[in-house]
């Protein structure tokens, strides 16, 4: 057993940490306020190879492992939660899923531009009436000649407003339930594809999260990912991977809150001494750090399972997502508390961490859903 990062992983950690601190953190408060998508930052991240981290070099990616991806997402999220989600969605949900299930042609045509950062990807599963139960999708795909005709609305799509490539889930036959679901790659500019309203969210406000609307949208049959009826399997497989990313995002946000809390506790004086000398504050810092470390280990462990080639790691990735997101909410709440009145104000970033962290518990399955996934895995073993 070895907990040490490899030389390559350490190098990635250092590189991303420095970049995130210099380039992402200074913009985080502003993009949270304006909701502006950080396109310039994403271009720079692409230049560093961070938009296609786990894609082989052959297809324009960096050829790293999933532990490295988790490390990079953690460091990015530590500086800016919104940017962390954007990067995670492009890397795992879009690029890796298409790579994993795609044909050689699809990899060349879609994975390469996503991995190089020339194009941006989104994952369109959630619908207005379908959150936690993807088997009951209402978006329909009707086969007509060489095209699928898409109709329906997707909601809460990260990167939705700015993406070039959408991985869309739809049903060819509602009566078939999850067996009727297909995954289609839809390019921006396809007639019948449009963006609806921009979501005004509690946190992660700069992620171009919006509605995607399909009205008689004609998608070439060649853009079918996998086979007919495989959509549900593809979606679940994608979510298994991306829940590791959410664990990493949550660890990053929580770590940022701890960093700022330690710094503030040393500087802020009350009752004639730094508040860091008070045991109640010390106990908070200790609890925060312990939970963050546990979250990080769960997250890296889940990524390591993926790297090892374990076929099913739903349990590990759900545990990482559940524990790390709960931890992020706890840690950021404690950070606001340590900062007191200043924590409630926008003078410091902790109130943003507090809002961003809450989103981690919700998307890609709430904590309740994760518990059910974990329990099913335990009970079926």
């Amino acid at each position: 057993m070895n907990f040490d990062l490899t030389e390559n992983q350490k190098m990635i950690q250092d590189m991303v940490r420095q970049f995130a601190k210099a380039e992402l953190e200074p913009k985080a408060a502003e993009i949270d306020k304006t909701g502006e998508f950080p396109m310039a930052s994403i271009k720079k991240l692409a230049e560093l190879g961070l938009m296609g981290m786990v894609i082989p070099e052959k297809y324009g990616g960096a050829g790293f492992d999933f532990v490295s991806l988790a490390i990079a997402i953690e460091e990015i999220s530590r500086a800016c939660g919104s940017t962390g989600v954007i990067v995670a969605v492009n890397n795992s949900l879009a690029a890796y899923t298409i790579y994993n299930f795609g044909t050689e042609e699809q990899r060349e045509k879609f994975v390469r531009p996503l991995a190089t950062g020339q194009k941006l990807g989104a994952f369109a599963l959630t619908e207005p009436n379908v959150g936690s139960d993807p088997a009951s999708l209402e978006t329909t795909a009707r086969l007509e000649g060489d095209y699928y005709i898409l109709n329906g609305t997707k909601r809460f799509i990260t990167n939705g407003g700015v993406s070039d490539i959408f991985l869309v889930f739809a049903t060819t036959d509602k009566t078939k339930g999850y067996k009727g679901i297909i995954a289609l790659i839809v390019e921006k500019g396809t007639p019948g594809l449009s963006c609806g309203k921009h979501e005004d969210l509690l946190g992660l406000r700069a992620t171009a999260n919006c509605e995607i609307i399909f009205e008689e949208c004609k998608v070439p049959k060649a853009n079918l990912l996998g086979k007919e009826g495989e959509g549900f399997k593809i979606a679940l497989s994608a979510l298994d991977v991306s829940r590791i990313d959410i664990g990493a995002q949550a660890v990053g946000i929580a770590q940022a809150a701890l960093d700022k809390s330690i710094q503030y506790a040393k500087e802020r004086k009350q009752f004639g001494r730094p508040i860091a000398e008070f045991e109640m504050i010390q106990a908070k810092l200790a609890e925060m750090a312990t939970k963050i470390q546990a979250s990080r280990l769960l997250t890296y462990y889940a990524a390591y399972q993926k790297d090892k080639g374990v076929a099913r790691f739903s349990q590990e990735s759900s545990m990482a997502k559940l524990f790390a997101s709960t931890t992020a909410v706890f840690v950021t709440k404690e950070a606001v508390q340590i900062f007191g009145g200043y924590g409630y104000s926008k003078d410091y970033p902790v109130e943003r961490y507090y809002r961003d962290a809450k989103c981690m518990e919700i998307y890609e399955g709430t904590s309740e859903i994760q518990r059910i996934v974990i329990a099913r895995s335990l009970l079926s073993a």
Partner: protein
């Protein structure tokens, strides 16, 4: 909990007022940050800005329990407006009612309790938060009054307040014994409003910085005695804490209201839903018993630092926790502004900070518990 009928009737009256007058603006003022002056005026017209104060001073002549019921019901639909009500009643008005002389009561209390004036309370400073005894605003005595210099931060409603109770020190070397309180009118020369605070929540409440530069306060505006200020502030905060408990309780109830509305429209078959609802409802029930008990102790004239601190500590933690649970119950919609629970989530966090953090509450409770006779059950 079965309260006397008069309280249930009063709750119903405030509930209706809250739904007619306060709720329609709650979402808008959260988005614009606009202070709802006309709503506050209506609160005054209904007598809600002086609920626990005697009629002879312009109040409604009711009691503290009635006041916390009103604070709960208003906060249940709009926590920002609820906070304005609490800060005015418990912090801006109470010190004058409790410690003011007859002239001060006639001049200020009658206007505050009847809602003609809005009141505020200036204690917190950039370097004095939990350590309220460390305030740096100075009061220099002159022949006919005092000259104040210093800066206050995070002061609720002050921009719209006619009077602000200011704590300042006559002699920093005396520590808390040097602290003295004054009734400062907003238009006194040398008194000004600094920046508006940018906050996580409660955006429809006004939170500002106060700046005093050689601000002259006539001697008749000394509140209580010189050097009595710290005791005045602490007793005021005790009562204030009950109302913050009520405020947090209202937010928790508001979150539960959202959960009920959502689940009736979108039934979810899951035992975990029952668990969430049951836990929230149970904690709200406990918080309500604690807040009402603290209010009744106050109505009996019993000083109850411990119960006030417990009510505030418990209700505020229930408030933030319940909002977080309901957001998860709703899923992604819970993060949007389609339901008010993301607003409640942002609003709720202040209750764990303002008028003494949860950590300070725990210190007070710990201290009080040790003081008690060991034969007494807590």
């Amino acid at each position: 909990m079965k309260l006397d009928r008069k309280y249930e009737e009063f709750r119903q009256e405030v509930f209706e007022f809250a739904h007619q007058e306060v709720l329609p603006k709650a979402k808008v003022i959260d988005q614009t940050g606009e202070f709802p002056l006309d709503t506050i005026k209506k609160l005054g017209e209904k007598g809600y800005l002086g609920i626990p104060y005697p009629k002879k001073y312009g109040g409604a002549g009711l009691d503290y329990l009635s006041y916390v019921i009103a604070a709960e019901e208003i906060s249940r639909v709009c926590a920002a407006t609820g906070l304005t009500l609490c800060a005015h009643t418990s912090l801006g008005t109470y010190p004058i009612f409790r410690f003011g002389n007859e002239e001060q009561k006639k001049k200020y209390l009658t206007k505050l309790a009847s809602g003609v004036f809005l009141g505020a309370f200036g204690l917190t400073e950039p370097n004095a938060g939990s350590d309220a005894g460390a305030i740096e605003t100075t009061a220099q005595k002159t022949n006919d009054g005092y000259i104040l210099n210093g800066t206050k931060r995070f002061i609720t409603s002050a921009e719209y307040a006619k009077t602000i109770i200011i704590a300042a020190t006559l002699d920093k070397s005396l520590g808390t014994k040097g602290i003295t309180t004054f009734i400062v009118e907003q238009d006194f020369a040398g008194f000004s409003i600094g920046q508006r605070e940018h906050k996580l929540g409660l955006l429809g409440s006004n939170t500002v910085e106060l700046i005093m530069e050689d601000c002259f306060v006539p001697k008749e505006n000394l509140l209580g005695e010189e050097h009595q200020g710290f005791a005045i502030m602490m007793e005021t905060l005790d009562g204030g804490r009950i109302s913050i408990g009520a405020h947090a309780l209202g937010i928790a109830q508001g979150a539960l209201d959202v959960a009920k509305e959502f689940l009736r429209a979108n039934p979810i078959k899951s035992q975990l839903v029952s668990k969430i609802l049951a836990d929230i409802a149970t904690h709200i029930y406990a918080a309500r018993l604690m807040v009402y008990d603290a209010a009744m102790l106050k109505d009996f004239g019993i000083r109850a630092d411990k119960e006030c601190a417990m009510a505030k500590l418990y209700a505020s933690e229930v408030g933030t926790w319940a909002c977080g649970e309901v957001i998860r119950l709703l899923g992604m919609i819970g993060l949007t502004k389609e339901y008010p629970v993301e607003r409640f989530y942002r609003d709720a966090k202040l209750s764990e900070i303002g008028e003494g953090t949860s950590e300070i509450m725990r210190l007070i409770i710990g201290r009080e518990v040790l003081k008690e006779n060991t034969n007494n059950a807590t």
